[in-house]
Amino acid sequence: MSQSYNRGLIEDFGRWKEFSAGMWAWIFHKFTGWMLIGYLFTHIAVLSTAIGAASGDASMIQAETDVYTTTIQGLEELFIVRVLEVGLLAVAVFHILNGLRLLMVDLGIGLEAQDRSFYASLVLTGAITVASVPTFLSGVGF
């Protein structure tokens, strides 16, 4: 229906401002879900270097100069990768927390508090992310 008639600018004007907690939760969950599956694909791609390493020279593995180790450590040296990792953590934590919230909703528990539980997931995600920054950024340029 929404597609069949265009109310012009008026239809879309400022709609996002009018979203409620549940809708934001839905959007964030979607977004983080897509990020995670996207990451999973890249992750396996990167880890695939292990195949090369395993079929390569065992001494290189000993010396920690095999493709797998060098790739991973090379990536880890990049500041941007570390930052992205923090982002990934945030994404994953939110998805987990909100996922738990959704599981509760599915079980019919605490539906009246659905907006508060969403805010709680947001706050917790923030807190965990901030708390993990030292661990994640240790050893790169600091």
Binding site: K30, G33, W34, L36, I37, L40, F41, I44, L47, S48, A50, I51, A53, A54, S55, I61, Q62, E64, D66, Y68, T69, I72, Q73, E76, E77, E85, L89, A92, I96, G99, L100, L102, L103, D106, S132, T135, F136, S138, G139, V140
Partner: protein
């Protein structure tokens, strides 16, 4: 009336599996993150360390299961999201096929990688 909605796929199974995989993923993903960022820092990952972990059959199986559930969960999630946007007909079938193939490939490649990590090939 109701006939319009009679497709053969009552969405219930996928819905339930999405929840079950989610519940499983909470545990494994938390473990995974903890293992590779806090116990072992990612920057200190080496093939040797990875291999050592992977050779533990329990860990190996967990990771493979982790991969399978995550792949299903992720791909199914994407598929749902697209259906929610009103994806219909052939396009829906194509998307489903692509997602199944991608998911399958992901799992195959992942398992292959894990086996390689464990040094079993």
């Amino acid at each position: 009336m109701a006939e319009r909605y009679s497709s053969f796929a009552p969405g219930g199974t996928r819905w339930l599996l999405q929840r079950i995989t989610a519940a499983f993923l909470v545990v494994v993903l938390a473990f995974h993150f903890f293992q590779l960022h806090f116990v072992t820092h990612a920057a200190e990952v080496t093939f040797m360390g990875t291999q050592a972990r992977m050779q533990n059959v329990g860990y190996f199986l967990t990771m493979v299961l982790f991969l399978i559930t995550a792949a299903f969960h992720g791909v199914n999630g994407v598929y749902n999201a697209l259906i929610n946007q009103g994806l219909e007909g052939t396009r829906k079938k194509v998307v489903l096929a692509v997602l199944v193939i991608a998911g399958g490939a992901l799992i195959a490649q992942g398992v292959y990688v894990a086996v390689a990590m464990a040094g079993w090939i």
